[in-house]
């Protein structure tokens, strides 16, 4: 019990970020999903059997809980990313403006991706999971996850190249 609590506490922030991603940025849904996950882990209805890393197991439970909550509420899982609450950028100077513009361009690129592609990017890029672990979390085969990952990167690259400057500056190392 204490060991479980310690593990959960160490992953709490990441778990909440993943919950937030799964609930399309709706904070209340993310909190409810995370709460339901902790309850399931405490009462043993979700039990870690060591078949994967604890983090990927936890993320899979969170994803399932939020999906089942969304089904109950009959709400579509993902809304447009424009609807998502994002931190305000206090633009100060050209660097800040450039950063804000860059973020908007990346957001636009992400909007073009499918939900699964966004999931795999979130898991691999932000949560540092391997593609195999991401596949476990998403409940898909490894090959499928690889395809989503590859297409997500291609899609993101393509959309960023449309924007021009950001991608060029990255590839030229400036």
């Amino acid at each position: 019990m204490n060991e479980l609590a310690t593990r959960l506490e160490s992953l709490h922030e990441a778990a909440f970020q993943w919950a937030l991603h799964c609930s399309a940025g709706v904070r209340q849904d993310a909190e409810d999903g995370l709460q339901a996950t902790y309850e399931a882990l405490l009462d043993g209805s979700a039990c870690f059997k060591g078949q994967s890393s604890f983090k990927s197991f936890l993320f899979a439970v969170i994803r399932n809980k939020i999906r089942s909550q969304a089904r109950k509420k009959k709400v579509r899982r993902l809304v447009g990313l424009d609807d998502v609450r994002t931190p305000k950028v206090e633009a100060q100077g050209s660097k800040a403006l450039e950063d804000a513009e860059r973020r908007r361009a990346i957001r636009r690129a992400l909007e073009e991706l499918s939900p699964k592609q966004r999931d795999v990017l979130e898991l691999v890029f932000y949560h540092d999971l391997t593609i195999e672990e991401a596949a476990q979390v998403m409940g898909v085969r490894l090959g499928t996850a690889r395809t989503h990952y590859k297409r997500a990167k291609e899609g993101m690259r393509r959309e960023l190249m449309k924007g021009g400057l950001q991608w060029k500056s990255a590839t030229t190392g400036t």
Partner: protein, 135 residues
């Protein structure tokens, strides 16, 4: 080259990912709520099991009572009881309650006569001694 592309994409994503400004709620309070909810669910589950066991017990008792009622023999009627009383006691030839005494005596006499006519005593004795007749 691909590695550098990946690194750039990763950095870009992490800088621009949605909801990055949101912070998680307090872990301790979430765990407390989860423990309370888990405990409440366990108690509710126990109550459901108890209620189910009570219903099962009540149904079992009802079924058993019905089955017992079906298999119980009906109580013998007063007439049947009188006949049984007479036949149980061979020495007693009192009239059953359904026949008055006078009529009963006539019937007994008539039976004796018929018996003697049909089965004379000698024949009966011979018959009893002769095993073959009984085989």
């Amino acid at each position: 080259m691909e590695e550098r592309d990946d690194r750039y994409l990763r950095e870009s994503y992490n800088q621009a990912r949605p909801h990055s400004g949101e912070r998680a709620p307090d872990f301790e309070s979430m765990m407390e709520r989860a423990q309370d909810a888990s405990r409440a669910r366990r108690h509710a589950g126990r109550r459901v099991w108890l209620a189910a066991a009570a219903v099962l017990l009540a149904v079992s008792v009802a079924v058993f009572s019905l089955m017992s009622a079906d298999t119980e023999l009906p109580e013998a009627s007063p007439q049947a009881q009188s006949v049984e009383a007479v036949t149980d006691d061979e020495d007693r030839l009192a009239a059953p309650s359904v026949v008055d005494d006078e009529r009963w005596e006539e019937l007994v006499e008539l039976a004796d006569e018929l018996w003697e006519e049909e089965y004379p005593t000698d024949f009966l004795l011979v018959s009893l001694e002769n095993d073959e007749l009984w085989e």
